[in-house]
């Protein structure tokens, strides 16, 4: 660590860890309910569990992105953050809004809009919090010695993510219009601006871990985020096929969303090419695993499993089934969860001065969570294919088909257990690092 203020990232990373564990608890509640055991129905009905599961996911990823930004921006700009107290205030505001939102879901304080369930009043607080965050980041960049491409791509991703939150806050009487704008948030986040954030973190890590020349890495970063927007913006159409819009979206959404995997393929090829080209033998292999792992798993989960159901003639049958959940899990995991894990694995030893990488625990964390996630994805896929066949093709009623596929949720639970053990290893390793300290400051760090 080169600048004292980078330490503030720790708080955001720690919050991510705690919320992730909580997210998983709610995942199990839903998996058991799908398997026929809904004993918690009276206290935590499925819709409470699902709102909590999805929103915790979003909040812990955002917290991870913010931590990443607070760590990366000083180092790239070559100066301290403009204000650590404000960054801490921003942290507590985020944590409190997150906790209140989750508590609110348990007493019916929500909006029933998938992924955007946080009620309107809290949305305003989120906006204020994010404005504060962006202010700190942009003023730091502005006053910094350098304005690197890596930090600009990261900061632009964060800025547009905030901007795109706004269309999700408008009320519409027409369900289709409501949905139309909900995708401006959800889709244009994960298949648009969040990829800038992912690309920015990836570029930073590759520069640090492989030692390849920054100019080369940043050139390819532009190409990748170029591919993202080229395909991803009009690719929004793949959510519009069947919600009450004109038919031209079938063709436009189909063609452009089918191109979206190119950006993820680009990311994977790029990460491996830089890794092989790099001369530097960075000691933190754990961070390298998570970095390269994210590049591969995002291509598998978002790219391959995305294209698997994005063509209109396929999506017609799979739209809104467990096939979607199959893809959603591996895509979020590979692209965003793993990338947050990568930056945490890289930053923690440097912030705390404790070199707890390449341990048995950090290997278990990597392998068990990934094998578990592949198992979970397979369980959702099996259940999803059977659901589509029975319900959509043969015409069985929804619930009859659900009863027929219940068994796959036991496979889900078994795989999720493996996954969770991996996550627990990761979280233990995280907290074993202890708190960041100024003693870990060094002049020349890479």
């Amino acid at each position: 660590m080169k600048y004292k203020s980078q330490k503030v990232a720790y708080w955001f990373f720690a919050l991510s860890m705690v919320l992730l564990i909580l997210q998983i608890v709610y995942g199990f509640i839903m998996a058991f309910a799908h398997a026929g055991y809904d004993g918690l129905h009276e206290i935590i009905p499925f819709n409470t569990a699902t709102a909590t599961h999805k929103n915790l996911l979003v909040v812990w990823l955002l917290s991870g992105f913010m931590g990443a930004a607070y760590y990366i921006i000083p180092e790239e700009s070559q100066r301290e953050l403009v204000s650590v107290p404000l960054a801490k205030l921003q942290f507590w505001a985020l944590a409190i809004v997150g906790v209140v939102a989750v508590a609110g879901f348990h007493v019916g304080w929500w909006e029933g809009r998938k992924f955007l369930e946080i009620p309107r009043f809290l949305d305003y607080l989120v906006v204020v919090d994010i404005l504060l965050f962006l202010g700190i980041i942009f003023v730091t960049i502005f006053k910094g010695k350098e304005k690197t491409t890596t930090e600009m791509v990261l900061a632009m991703g964060l800025f547009f993510a905030a901007l795109l939150y706004l269309p999700g806050m408008i009320w519409f009487d027409n369900q289709s219009v409501d949905s139309f704008f909900r995708w401006w948030v959800v889709h244009l986040w994960v298949e648009g601006v969040w990829e800038l954030i992912m690309g920015g973190i990836l570029a930073f890590l590759l520069i640090k871990l492989t030692g390849v020349d920054r100019e080369l890495i940043e050139k390819w970063l532009y190409v990748i985020v170029g591919l993202t927007f080229l395909s991803g913006i009009l690719g929004t159409g793949h959510h519009y096929y069947y919600i009450g819009v004109p038919e031209y979206w079938l063709m436009i959404g189909g063609i452009f969303s089918a191109l979206e995997p190119l950006a993820f393929l680009g990311m994977a090829l790029f990460a491996f090419a830089m890794y092989r080209k790099g001369e530097k033998n960075h000691p933190n292999k754990t961070a390298l695993y998570w970095t390269l792992g994210a590049a591969i798993m995002s291509f598998a989960g978002a790219g391959l499993l995305g294209i698997a159901h994005t063509i209109p003639s396929v999506n017609m049958w799979t739209h809104g089934t467990l096939i979607t959940a199959m893809h959603g899990h591996m895509a979020f995991w590979g692209a965003y969860a793993m990338m947050v894990f990568a930056i945490i694995s890289y930053a923690m030893p440097l912030m705390t001065g404790r070199k707890l990488y390449n341990t048995a625990g950090s290997s278990y964390a990597f392998w068990l969570s990934n094998i578990g996630m592949i198992g979970m994805t397979t369980a959702f896929a099996t259940a999803g294919v059977a659901q589509v066949y029975l319900e959509r093709k043969v015409g069985m009623s929804f619930m009859e088909a659900q009863m027929a596929i219940e068994v796959h949720f036991w496979v889900l639970i078994a795989s999720a257990t493996l996954f969770t053990i991996g996550i627990i290893y990761y979280v233990i390793n995280f907290f074993q690092h202890g708190m960041p300290t100024d003693e870990a400051l060094v002049e020349n760090i890479d």
Partner: protein
């Protein structure tokens, strides 16, 4: 070979061009596409009130509608065609969790007026032109 500046130009140029196309298409969809496809003139006060209820109770947290939501409970787009008014009324006004099919639904115990608003909402949804969704089961015997 491609230079960094060319790469930057590709990114900025591509983004601006495709974003503009997206805005134009969106404007068309919102101004004339959706109103036609969804018969927005039929969005009465009851339908709007039904949507508020659907939203406030997070029905999408278990069900899908227009194929969006969670995958725990039945698709509701065509629920009026499939089940008819009497059945839907019974489910919505039930004082105990509806469980006939093996999973529990929250017992909402909606009032008469709330039920009719929700039914108006579902009826409006069911009449949208959804480009062929949900598809007819083609292997049905």
């Amino acid at each position: 070979m491609l230079s960094k500046n060319q790469a930057k130009l590709f990114f900025l140029g591509g983004t601006v061009v495709f974003f503009l196309i997206f805005l134009v298409l969106s404007a068309h969809t919102l101004s004339s596409g959706i109103p036609k496809k969804t018969h927005s003139e039929n969005v009465t006060a009851e339908v709007a009130a039904g949507k508020v209820l659907f939203d406030e109770n997070n029905c999408m947290g278990c069900h899908t509608i227009l194929g969006e939501g969670a995958y725990y409970a039945p698709e509701l787009t065509k629920v009026m065609d499939r089940r008819g008014e009497g059945f839907v009324k019974a489910v919505l006004s039930s004082k105990t969790p509806w469980t006939t099919t093996g999973r529990k639904m929250v017992a909402y115990d909606f009032t008469e007026e709330e039920v009719s608003n929700l039914i108006a909402f579902f009826t409006w949804i069911g009449q949208m032109d959804l480009n062929g969704f949900p598809p007819e089961p083609d292997l049905k015997k």
